[in-house]
């Protein structure tokens, strides 16, 4: 009877386990294995190169590290600008304000739009020839500020980062809002009765209670932004030169541009390790700040 029960349990989990093994575990192991080979993705024969691909990534592929720096820059802007904006808007919508439900919907529209569509629309807005932004700047009396925002090496990366923030702040807004709504109102009222001002309420009640939420938003921002590439393909395809290249674009370039599937896998593994490390650091940092608070 007991054996039958055990077998039944295994049969229940078998389909899910099979799917996990076929679509997650085997490809995962395969990627690790391919990272040790030179392979063009077509011929059956693969050349074993050991850790050669990883060595090349670490010591020779300057563009890979440049792309990592670019992704880091976009992430930094997202962590600061995007998340500050998301928090402030969530805070505003958490208070008693008119039309707050309308704003909640409005702020969540950009994240649900297709990244390709958003990229192409912003490319059109920012275009140096017929872009709306340059048209507005000229109309407003600032023609000197008009430029090819996405083709100018001085503005391309920051412009891409700002568009990314516009597209992504809705997620942070939603999570911050949910977090703010879990804070009991009595705490604010008690603080007010005790004579606490707005800053003191923010510092001593809201901030400590929102730290776990902020940590979650930060981790999601880091992971989402570092892996972002669709909008960049639509807006600049990594150009001008290498100014808006990001790691996933480099992995794609290795696969479809230079047909180096093994190298692309090695890049993917390296990138995965970096993301795990960043998330771990962020997690420890947020725990430390929460404990300190």
């Amino acid at each position: 009877m007991k054996l039958k029960s055990i077998l039944e349990n295994y049969i229940f989990v078998f389909p899910a386990t099979l799917i996990f093994v076929i679509f997650y575990l085997i490809p995962f192991i395969w990627v690790f294995q391919l990272g040790l080979y030179e392979w063009d993705g077509i011929v059956p024969a693969k050349v074993f190169v050991g850790l050669g691909n990883f060595k090349e990534i670490l010591f020779e592929d300057r563009i890979w590290w440049d792309s990592m720096r670019n992704a880091g820059y976009i992430t930094l802007i997202a962590l600061t600008l995007q998340n500050t904006l998301a928090f402030l808007l969530a805070w505003a919508c958490d208070r008693q304000m008119r039309m707050k439900n309308f704003y909640r919907v409005l702020f969540f529209i950009p994240p649900v739009l297709s990244e390709v569509v958003v990229g192409l629309v912003w490319q059109w807005i920012l275009d140096g020839h017929y872009g709306l932004l340059n048209g507005w700047l000229t109309y407003a009396g600032f023609p000197a500020l008009a430029r090819s925002w996405l083709s100018d090496p001085h503005t391309a990366l920051t412009t891409v980062a700002i568009v990314h923030c516009w597209k992504g702040f809705g997620w942070g807004f939603l999570i911050f809002l949910a977090g703010l709504q879990t804070i009991p109102r009595e705490l604010y009222e008690a603080a007010r009765v005790d004579g606490a001002n707005a800053w003191s309420t923010f510092k001593n009640i809201m901030l400590p209670l929102m730290m776990p939420v902020a940590a979650l938003v930060a981790i999601l921002t880091i992971l989402g932004t570092m892996q972002g590439f669709v909008m960049i393909i639509a807006m600049t395809d990594g150009g001008p030169a290498y100014h808006t290249q990001v790691p996933v674009l480099r992995i794609l370039a290795s696969m479809r541009g230079t047909s180096r599937f093994g190298y692309a896998c090695a890049q993917g593994i390296s990138f995965g390790f970096i993301l795990v490390a960043l998330s771990f650091i962020q997690y420890r940092f947020s725990r430390w700040t929460r404990d300190s608070a």
């Binding site: 993705g41 077509i42 059956p44 017929y130 996405l150 083709s151 395809d237 001008p240 030169a241 047909s259």
Partner: protein, 396 residues
């Protein structure tokens, strides 16, 4: 390719009515997605009976070596080679691996060209008039070309537009310049590693892009421009020059049927070697070796590339036919691209291929020159380093 769906479907209908064999065309966009789809199908051994490959000649060779592509040489040479002789030789050469090729492929013809293209300079005749230039006299020399650039800048117009956000298209013009300045042999010697990219001729090639930028000849934002945007700007009369392929005839016809433009060769820089353009390449179809319908597939391709079908396809899609017997009957708009076919060359006919990493460094380097971030000498030095690294890696 998807813009040709109606024409291909019509040809399939005609073939079924004639032979009783049903043919189904499946067209995909964007091209990158299709390229990956074909690779995945090759891995899974489920390629269709007839397919195309988008990529470098090296990818083509890999498909052959993996046993996915039928050698069409016996069919081509049957009946005194009548099928082989029906094609524009340059178009067929792209699909051929000659004896002693560096790809290690058994010599033979492995694909059938369906159409061909050339990439040329185009100029807007109406904007030429506005600049006070003779619209029937496009610039012949590079100095004249730069002078027009200065006029464009002074008039506040946009100069040359092209899809230079994509590396291959900027490399295409660089190759034109390189063939013209140093000749085919020296370019191929560079690819073989016998001449460094820091050679003065290569620095001169890179320098031409700086001169074009400095004169005002290049449109703002050309370094991130995708070709579709470049085509829109030129079709709407917003740019004086375009660097585009013969497929643009159909595109401009759709965007602005009244566009008044001319086609010109890239301007002459030196006298030792003739001006060169990219051409000959187009869409090619391969037959799956493992298909149980190989014979039917070959028979269909023979029918598809015959004169009548080629003329229909050319007229319906405004593309240059691969069948040489049709070239005399194509519309004038297309003929402007066909008449310089003898000056054309293409990397896939060189028998040797540059490392993709070097091509990327070259194209991105030229973008850096255009945005005034690097000098031609710096780019030459960087490309040389990439070349040396890749050559060493391949030796290992």
């Amino acid at each position: 390719m998807t813009d040709r769906r109606a024409a291909f479907d019509e040809l399939a209908r005609r073939y079924e009515a004639r032979s009783g064999v049903q043919v189904k065309f499946e067209l995909y966009a964007p091209s990158d997605a299709y390229a990956q789809k074909v690779r995945a199908a090759a891995q899974g051994d489920n390629l269709p009976d007839i397919f195309g490959i988008l990529g470098e000649k090296q990818d083509f060779a890999s498909f052959i070596k993996a046993g996915h592509i039928l050698d069409l040489t016996p069919s081509m040479q049957a009946e005194a080679g009548s099928w082989q002789q029906s094609f524009v030789p340059k178009a067929l050469a792209l699909n051929e691996f000659p004896a002693g090729n560096s790809y290690g492929v058994t010599p033979g013809i492995y694909a059938v060209p369906i159409d061909i293209m050339t990439i040329q300079m185009l100029f807007n005749k109406d904007l030429f008039k506005q600049l006070g230039l003779d619209p029937e006299q496009p610039p012949q020399t590079f100095a004249e070309f730069l002078n027009i650039g200065r006029r464009i800048k002074a008039a506040g117009m946009q100069g040359l537009v092209s899809g230079w956000g994509e590396v291959w298209m900027v490399n295409c013009l660089a190759n034109n310049f390189a063939f013209h300045i140093m000749g085919r042999d020296k370019v191929l010697a560079t690819i073989r590693g016998e001449v460094p990219y820091t050679d003065s001729d290569w620095v001169k090639v890179f320098g031409l892009f700086k001169e074009m930028q400095d004169s005002g000849l290049l449109a703002d934002g050309v370094v991130t421009m995708i070709n579709k945007n470049a085509e829109r700007l030129f079709a709407n009369g917003k740019a004086v020059f375009a660097f585009n392929g013969s497929w643009c005839v159909n595109v401009y016809k759709g965007m602005n049927p009244g566009l008044n433009y001319g086609v010109m060769l890239p301007p002459r820089i030196a006298d030792k070697y003739p001006v060169s353009i990219w051409g000959g390449a187009g869409s090619s179809f391969m037959v799956n070796t493992r298909s149980p319908k190989k014979a039917e597939a070959v028979a269909f391709l023979q029918w598809l590339t015959a004169r009548d079908q080629q003329l229909y396809l050319s007229g319906a899609t405004m593309s240059l036919p691969a069948n040489k017997d049709c070239l005399a009957e194509i519309p004038e708009a297309l003929n402007r691209f066909a008449r310089d076919l003898e000056l054309s060359t293409h990397p896939n006919t060189w028998g040797i291929a540059e490392h993709p990493q070097v091509l990327e460094a070259l194209g991105k380097g030229i973008q850096s020159i255009i945005i005034a971030e690097k000098t031609p000498e710096q780019v030459a030095s960087e490309v040389r380093k990439v070349k040396e690294r890749q050559t060493a890696r391949r030796r290992q």
